[in-house]
Symmetry: C2
Subunit: 202 residues, 2 copies
DNA sequence: GTCTATACGGCGATAGAC
DNA sequence: GTCTATCGCCGTATAGAC
């Protein structure tokens, strides 16, 4: 059996919203791209706004939930870092527009999207930071600002996808070369983080 | 003497485009925010599209030109990295929406903006990569993939600003705390890069 | 240069037949 | 569930008076 009309609309909406953002996307685009008409978009999703909210929530969760989950896993530090970079890179290779979509809709004073995002935040302690603390106590790593380390880790994985087109321009990369480049980061990023945590004070 | 109407419009346009992007910004917003009317916006800039192109070009140059310039300076490696992080952080503290604006308008298959950006690219050799090569030959640093290092450096500086609102949510930061956080990165980021370049093989 | 008034199209949304 | 037709609004852009 083929996919339902509702699914076709959702898929088309996700593709176009991620590509162009809320403001530059029209209901007509979505309907046409889903091989249907505007009336059905509103029949299933009531309004462009509500359809967008569904897509945004999914995308936000899809991006951040797995990251949080892996960092909260019970894995040795080094293995965890490798797994994090590996998993996130594969995720973003499948859906490279995810982060720039989510973050561009959350920019500035956009209270609406930020509130929505904050409702999806699971609280709980940050086990990754706790783990780094413990390793420092055991003397396995240096004691540095671990919040900075966590943000740097995330930055190095996600930013290349956000700046993909600029990167391809500056480094004269094809799409295939870009994907090879981020593949190589699966080694480079953990090495970078670990050398910072392990090397002697300068 | 007060600033000209043209300047008022340009300033308002920049503020609103950076906050909401091209698609979610209306000429009415801009006119009202500049204390004038739509007719004058089109009188000075001919159309919303052309006004946007001016703002985008400025913003693109404002973000990437200084970065390229510093990396091409004639400075010792360590001093250059510190200067880069320092200067870029100060720049983005003044204009935190710059990178997410530029990169969100360049996402996906948006050929228009990418072509515009490519026309603004100065070619020339990448002196930063050459410098890293030379340092490796002299045995001062390890020989690793220096493209990866350059991208990581840029990522760690820029990404916190792109993800500012998510970061503030996850780490429960106020705006002041966020600015203190990126200020501390002026030390943390260079240390991270340098420890990777200098530490022994693992 | 600046304003008012207006043209014109495209937008989101819905009514109503099937 | 699906479609056609249409409404009303808001978007950009311009004409024309001052």
């Amino acid at each position: 059996m083929a996919i339902s009309t509702e699914e076709k609309i959702r898929d088309a909406a996700k593709r176009i919203f991620l590509e162009k953002g809320f403001g530059s996307t029209t209901t007509r685009d979505i309907a046409e791209s889903a091989d249907t008409n505007i009336a059905l978009v509103n029949y299933y999703f009531h309004s462009k706004e509500r359809l967008f909210q569904e897509i945004f929530q999914d995308s936000f969760a899809e991006t951040f939930a797995p990251a949080t989950r892996i960092l909260n896993d019970d894995l040795p530090l080094e293995a965890k870092i490798y797994k994090f970079v590996d998993y996130m890179t594969d995720l973003l290779k499948k859906d490279p527009l995810l982060p720039v979509f989510v973050l561009s809709e959350m920019r500035g004073e956009n209270t609406k999207m930020c509130e929505m995002a904050s409702k999806m935040q699971e609280a709980g302690p940050n086990k990754f930071l706790q783990q780094l603390e413990r390793e420092a106590e055991k003397g396995n790593i240096r004691r540095v600002d671990f919040d900075q380390v966590e943000v740097s880790l995330m930055s190095m994985v996600v930013f290349p996808f956000i700046s993909m087109n600029v990167l391809k321009l500056k480094k004269q990369m094809s799409t295939e070369e870009f994907y090879r480049f981020v593949e190589e980061r699966k080694k480079a990023i953990p090495e970078m983080i670990l050398s910072y945590l392990r090397c002697r004070e300068e």
